[in-house]
């Protein structure tokens, strides 16, 4: 049986991409099909999580029968379409478009710590060797150095009006904290009444800085570590705060934790984070961290001790309590913030060790 979708497209319908017939699903865009088949079609205003926008037109492809190249990110496939993704004319067209975009932009090379997508623009400029001089014109956007919030850098001189921040804020975060004013070279991304982010509906979730392809919106907390030497590495883990369990990539340079980025493929969050998960990582390498075991001395104060001495003291203390009052005098409270292995060993020491069910966790408070 042939399955039919909304528009009645046969499930075995194909489009021809660079000479190969490939099947597609109902509603798929040309860009989605191309990227599924490893075609390196450039994009700037595209974010797979957002509704297609069609602003930058870098993703243009040649479509047989169409007079002009079409934006692949907004063109839905229909059976029999014939598409070319990499002709000389298309590549030239893309380069010209890119040069136009670059001309608005003060600085192409921005630090990787700016945000997840911050290198997209630079990567394309390198790929197309786009000449920055050709369209040197007026700059768009307006820098907001006066916004003294500690998390989000707003440098609108870098803005290329791809609207990704505005769209992610509305479509993903659902906050509509930022919007677009004016058009063309005068376009600026702004908050209601053009004020500080703090005074807007912004929740400082950071999603706009992570989707910005130029570093116009950037992660101030991470950028504070721009001078830390070393290459950037990323390690996938889970946010330490609430029970949603958002996946994050820890950004490190050597031994230093320098930032957090959302995992775009995180099963619980698909690229979203909140202000805590995004920005509250500084506690890990804070000076207040406990660095050695402490043991209470005869003077009644806690003093640093070796692991051996402290472990002996801990075990002896429990032994003493049992000798004086019996094993039922012991109790353990496991953590709702430490990993499974902590809770499992805690309950095991009480049950298998002492033969007691005197164990609980902190969910009661």
């Amino acid at each position: 049986m042939i399955q039919r979708g909304e528009e009645g497209t046969a499930a075995n319908a194909t489009v021809n991409i660079d000479g190969t017939d490939v099947p597609f699903a109902d509603g798929e865009t040309l860009y989605e099909i191309c990227s599924r088949h490893q075609k390196d079609v450039p994009t700037l205003c595209y974010d797979p999580r957002l509704d297609p926008f069609g602003g930058c037109r870098l993703c243009v492809v040649e479509l047989e029968g169409a007079r002009n190249p079409v934006a692949s990110c907004t063109t839905r496939a229909t059976p029999g379409m014939k598409v070319r993704t990499e002709t000389g004319a298309i590549e030239k067209h893309r380069r010209t478009l890119l040069e136009l975009v670059v001309s608005e932009n003060r600085q192409v090379a921005v630090d990787e710590l700016s945000g997840y997508a911050s290198q997209e623009m630079k990567t394309l400029v390198d790929r197309y060797d786009a000449d920055r001089g050709r369209f040197q014109g007026k700059k768009s956007g307006h820098s907001r150095e006066d916004d003294d919030n500690p998390f989000i850098l707003r440098d609108y001189d870098q803005c290329i009006s791809c609207y990704r921040c505005v769209r992610v804020c509305a479509e993903q975060e659902g906050d509509y904290a930022i919007s677009v004013m004016n058009r063309g070279f005068d376009t600026k991304i702004t908050t209601e009444f053009n004020g500080l982010l703090r005074d807007s509906d912004c929740t400082f979730c950071g999603q706009c800085i992570q989707t910005c392809p130029t570093g116009a919106l950037a992660d101030k907390k991470a950028l504070a570590n721009a001078d830390v030497p070393g290459d950037i590495e990323k390690t996938r883990t889970i946010c330490p705060y609430c029970g949603v369990g958002c996946s994050v990539d820890l950004v490190t340079k050597g031994d230093r934790l320098v930032g957090v980025q959302p995992a775009m493929d995180g099963p619980a969050n698909e690229g979203a984070l909140c202000v805590k998960g995004q920005f509250a990582f500084g506690f890990v390498q804070h000076d207040d961290r406990l660095k050695t075991p402490l043991v209470r001395g005869d003077d009644g104060e806690l003093h640093p001790a070796s692991w051996d001495a402290a472990l002996d003291r801990a075990a002896d203390g429990f032994r003493g309590v049992v000798e004086r009052h019996g094993r039922e005098a012991l109790y353990a409270v496991a953590s709702g913030r430490a990993p499974h292995e902590a809770a499992y060993t805690m309950q095991k020491i009480m049950r298998a060790g002492w033969g007691l069910n005197h164990i609980d966790n902190c969910s009661r408070a």
């Binding site: 500690p150 975060e173 659902g174 390690t235 883990t237 330490p240 705060y241 609430c242 029970g243 949603v244 369990g245 230093r256 934790l257 619980a268 805590k276 920005f279 509250a280 500084g282 506690f283 207040d288 961290r289 406990l290 660095k291 402490l294 806690l302 692991w307 402290a310 472990l311 003291r313 075990a315 203390g317 429990f318 309590v321 009052h325 109790y331 353990a332 409270v333 496991a334 953590s335 709702g336 990993p339 499974h340 292995e341 809770a343 499992y344 060993t345 805690m346 309950q347 020491i349 049950r351 033969g355 007691l356 005197h358 164990i359 609980d360 966790n361 902190c362 969910s363 009661r364 408070a365």
Partner: protein, 528 residues
């Protein structure tokens, strides 16, 4: 949660009760915002005019602690107006008739004066919830942190059973867990009544199983809860080990807590900071923190996920499991020869039927929701799709009880407590991460402007707030987010330790403290 987070934008009607999700579970809340933007209806029940309430189709600002009354009345309306899903109740539940008889006595007119909301709004909410094809309930501690927390949850279950809004996409009864691994701590058996995998300790079969696995004698008797243990400190409990909990700031009735911990002969605390609680210990062990620890956690939708270390431990800090195992070994206990987190987790998978199909390598991508009974099982994103574990869903004939303490001439205001977006728990982590103070320099007491004037207070000025257990000074914030007669603050700040005041009572079954309700008196600082 019975249903996965991915279901959150799927219900036709979303019923949020006692959950300030945009602040406490912000990323989950985006699912609700998306659903509402796409046309889903939203019912919000909360004593405070929280952000979600702004988007609600029906908003019920009930008096704190009156949830059971509201839910009984909703059940009454569903029964009276013949909105019961008969196909579902016939196939999957027992006790409907008795329950319908029971709720006849609780019409909206009865609940309205208790909940302090109009009866028509209760009817509206009931109809909306019952009539939709797919309705889903979301709740947090606003339901459980009451002396009637268990009854509240049972009352919510009753609604899902009457309507059949369970076991399908976009439905269910979904508690949002507040801490990254609070679900996991329960999964692992850190509970006085359950072994790992929620296997009851008072079942001789389980006793035999664990004696066989661990090769030691284990106890058939239920353990005591933490609340009871704290009460008995210095009487029958003399030695305690606490891992990563700032008991002194997070638990109710701070003075009692402090006294309890001080009366111990031996207190061992494992933590990443020298917290207020750690300062009372005889031995403190430095644990590796998040970003330094390999391990596993389970989120609110029962998804089992890997934690990975990215940076080396600070100083001499060690993983919790290592510390506990070392203590165990020094006590001569066997079975603690673990060499890695992986060893510990794989043992858990062997002993827990919910995790039998999992192991360290299988959870690498985090795609499994427990239960995963065997290695070929795909996991269980949605519970109760084909049936309930114990056969049929059973209705509970709940009744309404007043909170442990109610307002009176001496303590005429309701205090309710919670969290804020920018701070987490006792703020030991968020407070040390730099930047949060820009948004949240300190705590304040949210109070309706009419109350501020009536009590002779001023916005931004300190006041004294007292309960029968103690008093604290805190800055007043005039806001219509609070309803007249009810004030709110968080428990995150050590300068305003609100747990000096709370602690009026506990749920008799779970011993969850009634942190959401505490009658207080508020007066100008000078007057007291």
């Amino acid at each position: 949660m019975t249903n996965p987070l991915a279901d959150m934008d799927k219900p036709d009607v979303i019923f949020c009760i006692g959950t300030n999700m945009t602040e406490c579970h912000p990323v989950a809340a985006t699912g609700i915002k998306k659903a509402v933007a796409a046309g889903s209806k939203l019912i919000v029940v909360d004593p405070r005019h929280i952000d979600l309430a702004k988007q609600a189709d029906v908003y019920l600002p009930i008096r704190v602690g009156s949830d059971t009354a509201l839910l009984l009345a909703m059940a009454h309306v569903i029964a009276r107006e013949d909105l019961v899903n008969k196909t579902f109740t016939d196939e999957r539940t027992t006790g409907l008739e008795e329950f319908v008889e029971h709720v006849k006595g609780f019409p909206p007119e009865w609940a309205a004066p208790i909940c302090e909301v109009p009866p028509e709004d209760i009817e509206k909410a009931a109809r909306l919830y019952a009539k939709a094809d797919r309705s889903a309930i979301y709740y947090t501690l606003g339901i459980t942190e009451h002396i009637c927390g268990v009854d509240n949850v049972k009352s919510l279950c009753n609604l899902t059973l009457m309507t059949g809004h369970i076991g399908r996409e976009g439905t269910g009864i979904n508690p949002m867990r507040g801490q990254n691994n609070i679900q996991g701590a329960g999964d692992c058996g850190a509970l006085p009544n359950n072994y790992p995998g929620f296997q009851a300790v008072d079942d001789p079969e389980h006793q035999e199983k664990f004696e066989r696995i661990w090769g030691t004698k284990v106890d058939l008797e239920l353990g005591m809860t933490k609340v009871t243990a704290l009460e008995r400190c210095g009487e029958s409990i003399f030695g305690m080990m606490i891992d990563g909990e700032n008991t002194l700031l997070s638990d109710p009735d701070r003075n009692h807590c402090q006294h309890a911990l001080e009366s111990l002969e031996h207190l061992v605390v494992i933590d990443i900071f020298l917290t207020e609680t750690a300062k009372l210990a005889h031995v403190v062990f430095p644990a590796t923190s998040w970003a330094e620890t390999d391990g596993v956690c389970t989120n609110t939708e029962r998804r089992v996920q890997r934690l990975r270390a990215a940076v080396p431990a600070q100083g001499d800090a060690k993983p919790d499991w290592w510390i506990v195992s070392q203590i165990a070994r020094r006590l001569g206990f066997e079975g603690f020869e673990y060499e890695s987190a992986k060893d510990v987790f794989n043992e858990l998978c062997e002993v827990s039927p919910l995790y039998n199909g999992l192991d360290w390598d299988r959870i690498d991508e985090g795609e499994y929701h427990w239960p995963v009974p065997d290695k070929h099982h795909p996991g269980t994103p949605r519970l109760h799709e084909t049936g309930f574990e114990n056969g049929r869903g059973i209705f509970s004939c709940t009744t309404y009880r007043d909170p442990a303490e109610t307002i009176n001439d001496d303590y005429p205001l309701w205090l309710t407590t919670g969290r804020r977006l920018q701070s987490y728990h006792t703020h030991t982590q968020t407070g040390r991460s730099g930047g949060m103070e820009y948004f949240l320099p300190g705590e304040s007491l949210e109070m309706h402007p009419d109350d501020v004037t009536r009590l002779g207070l001023a916005d931004g000025e300190p006041c004294r707030m007292s309960s029968p257990r103690g008093a604290i000074d805190i800055v007043v914030k005039a806001t219509t987010k609070s309803r007249p007669g009810t004030v709110f603050t968080s428990f995150s700040f050590k300068d305003t330790p609100v747990n000096v005041l709370t602690g009026s009572g506990y749920d008799p079954t779970t011993h969850t403290p009634e942190l959401k309700v505490c009658p207080v008196r508020v007066e100008p600082v000078a007057a007291s």
